[in-house]
Amino acid sequence: MLHINAVDSGANAPASIKKSSFSTIANRFGVFLMIGALFIVGAFASPQFFSASNFLNILSAVSILGMVAAGVAFVIYCGKYGDMSVPMVMAISGVISVELMRYGLVPAICGAVATGAVIGCVNGVVIGKLKVNAIIWTLAMNFILEGLVRWSYKGEQIYPDMATESTYQTGFLLPLMHSLDSHIMEIDLVKRAEAFNGLAQTYFFGRIPLMLVVMVCVMAACYFVMSKTAYGNQLKVVGSSYDVGNMSGIRATSVVMGAFMVSSICASLAGVFITSINKVGAFYVGQGYDFQAVTAIILGGMSLAGGRGSIIGVFGGVFLMGLISNILTLFGVGTFTQKMISGAIFIVVVAVNARSLRKLGRDDA
């Protein structure tokens, strides 16, 4: 049995203490039990399953998702259900990094991250202060950003190596950059574009992709922030109960704002990489990552009720999603059917978990 939501008991009777510690274990490691089960299945699926290259494949395939999920996990940990603005944060960061990459990689990435931080800040202020339903607000934000990106580019995509005069008529910063810097046309774009597109093709030791390393670093940083810092612990208090957090001398609004900023910043990083993979900045690059991130996080044992779960679980959830898709591919199942199956697994797991929680008398799914 996989327990997703509860780390510990909400029941009153001391008799349930023992039960709850069992559920703690089942919950904390539930996703890894599932991974273990899939290892066994995988072993039957193909002899190549247990090879280093296959595992690298699995991890590389989910490295973008991993970056996004690590950030969104903060929002869910904070008790705010989800950040639906993630797809457009990815897109907008992508196009901004493409615009800025003519000044080099570092400004490109910094610009993208700064954009994400600003968006997260707006989300956080509105949701934290006004207590808007986070899903509705972030969905609205997503639509606004989608409109902005598509409008600024007149619905066009932006290629890193595009350097005609007309390129500088559209976009967020390009017209401004063009008017400020008359030499901008002289920058060797082809070389810069190569460097930018090369982000996704950089490998360590010839086989470990840079993206994967970044994902692991993001996960590690998020783990540290969530578990080991003052902020992370305040987030836990606010996430489990906003009112209590607010009445414990914690600036709850700022804490919520921080969570949304982390989410957007992580999405920005993911946006830079996915743009580099696609070699094109466009409004649709992040599509589906909002849903996938929530799926991975919930599978990883985080509770929608907030303040429960850990980044390690989220990593497990992300890995699990990669594993499912990998094994289904090994069995020759098409991508479309894979999507259907992973959706179904998600629903079943959530339902079973909610039911078992209710049987324990804890209705906090």
Partner: protein, 512 residues
């Protein structure tokens, strides 16, 4: 609805030797209680005297009470709210269950909307609602189609009464219906109650307002410590008699506070105003002093505490700690300057029931336990051990989820959370509500010890023995205003405090 429900003067409700046991206490102890048709029967007693338990029993919220309940002479078993409703008991709680988005008529007839065929009969609904509202004289004043969110609190209460009358109950139970009302509104409410009782309904009226009891009630029953003290006609008793019956002759000696000198002014509040809640309140709190803040429900005591604690905004006035004026409406800042506010709502605002005791106790001092951004909970472990020791929190398991503690130990954990912040000023809002005797004693001893260590305590409490025995000085609030101050050297006891809270000016040392 017939004009006269029951012949006036007949006994409608009789509770014979009813008892209710809670773990650790006998909340209601062999009580006999009778209510007649056409009377307003006041039920009085201090907090914890068993009034609410008795009424909850009547509302069908307990399935394991002992004794007999007779309605109209028929023995009934009120083991569920549904059964109680069918038997003719209507409860009007302070916390109203209102669907604010919907109109008055939909709220009144929720689940019973009249239809003609399959279609809603809007005219019938409107007419029926106007009929129902006529009982509370709101017909013509309130359009049945008005959304509830646009109705004032006073009128919502009247509508709630109308809703209860609609089902033709025999007994109407009103729990502190006037605590949030202005004087005129109280008058309207009383006029309504007089009319309702004249139609033959029996009204049980729970209140702490002595004057109101004399204004409206015909008979009064006093409970103390779960036992029935007496039932008598209101015209036969005086205020002082009632107070004595409620308070008793007991000496509150088991936590007698030793007299001691207090130091300089620590907290100075001047002209504090929170529009609509607290008005122009000024007082001073000295080092090592326990200042009691008394008042009836709805007097604005908690609201005052919340403003000083930095939770609610301060619209006007100054709040100084050690001479420096502080920016309130920032609890973080207030905590840093040594003000701690312990909430009265332990389960919703005080403790994070799903987190462990350790996490709860550390939740207010996370920045203090951190070096830079990194959090070191271990650095607080010694202090935690000390708090566990001094408050005797049981069980000792610091990783136990807060919800698994008993009420008393939860309260101790909450107190520990605020003690951990090492406050200069500790605002305690109902620190012993809903806790067992042992925990209560320990909390009282702790409060005393803290005061002797130099912490200033503002004690907000409805528990009269508690406030009387612990306080060095008592200030009293009424309807959002500070109305007076009572000094220990002038002598105060429970009766005087109760009278003071009811606005009796003669008992004050300093009246404002």
């Amino acid at each position: 609805m017939s004009d006269t429900v029951t012949e006036l003067g007949r006994v409608v409700l009789e509770m014979r030797g009813v008892s209710k046991q809670f773990p650790g206490t006998l909340a209601v102890d062999n009580v006999n209680f009778q209510v007649k048709a056409g009377e307003v029967h006041a039920l009085m007693g201090e907090n914890g005297a068993g009034k609410s338990t008795l009424m909850k029993m009547l509302a069908g919220l307990f399935s394991d009470y002992t004794g007999e309940i007779l309605i109209d002479g028929e023995p009934v078993k009120l083991t569920s709210p549904m059964l109680a409703k069918q038997a003719g008991v209507a409860m009007i709680y302070q916390e109203l269950s209102i669907a604010y988005n919907r109109s008055v008529q939909e709220n009144v007839f929720a689940g019973q909307i009249p239809t003609r065929g399959k279609v809603i009969d809007k005219r019938a609904l409107r007419d029926m609602t106007v009929d129902v509202l006529r009982h509370v004289k709101l017909d013509g004043k309130v359009d049945p189609a008005t959304p509830m969110k646009n109705i004032s609190q006073h009128e919502s209460q009247l509508i709630e009464i109308a809703k209860a009358l609609k089902d033709n109950p025999k007994i109407l139970v009103m729990d502190e219906p006037t605590s949030a009302l202005s004087t005129e509104e109280v008058e309207t409410m009383f006029a309504l109650m007089r009319e309702v009782k004249s139609k033959g309904y029996a009204i049980v009226y729970i209140s702490h307002h002595l004057q109101e009891v004399f204004d409206i009630a015909d008979r009064v029953t006093v409970l103390r410590d779960g036992k029935l003290i007496d039932t008598c006609d209101v015209k036969d008793v005086s205020k002082e008699d009632l107070v004595e019956m409620m308070v008793g002759q007991k000496m509150s000696d088991f936590y007698k506070r030793t007299d001691k000198s207090v130091g300089d002014v620590v907290l100075e509040v001047e002209g504090l105003t929170h529009y609509g809640f607290v008005h122009n309140v000024s007082f001073q709190l000295n080092k090592g002093e326990i200042l009691g803040l008394a008042g009836l429900a709805g007097a604005g005591r908690s609201e005052l505490g919340r403003v000083i604690g930095g939770i609610d905004r301060m619209d006007a006035g100054v709040c100084r700690i050690g001479g420096t004026a502080l920016k309130t409406k920032d609890m973080c800042n207030m905590v840093r300057h040594g003000v701690a506010y312990l909430t009265e709502n332990r389960k919703t605002e005080g403790l994070n029931l799903r987190l462990t005791a350790r996490e709860n106790i550390f939740s207010a001092i996370i920045p203090k336990l951190s070096k830079g951004p990194v959090y070191f909970p271990r650095s607080g472990e010694a202090a935690l051990d000390g708090l566990y020791e001094s408050l005797n929190i049981v069980p000792r398991d610091k990783n136990l989820t807060a919800s698994n503690f008993s009420g008393g130990n939860q309260q101790k954990v909450l107190l520990a959370k605020w003690m951990a912040t090492k406050p200069k000023v500790l605002i305690l809002d109902e620190p012993t509500r809903g806790v067992d005797v042992g925990a209560k004693k320990l909390i009282h001893e702790t409060i005393e010890r803290l005061a002797s260590e130099g912490i200033s305590v503002l004690l907000i409490s409805s528990d009269l023995p508690e406030i009387v025995s612990l306080s060095d000085r008592i200030i009293v609030m009424m309807q959002g205003h500070l109305i007076g101050e009572m000094h220990k050297e002038d002598g105060f006891d429970e009766s005087k405090v109760l009278l003071a809270a009811n606005g009796e000016r003669s008992v004050f040392s300093v009246a404002y």
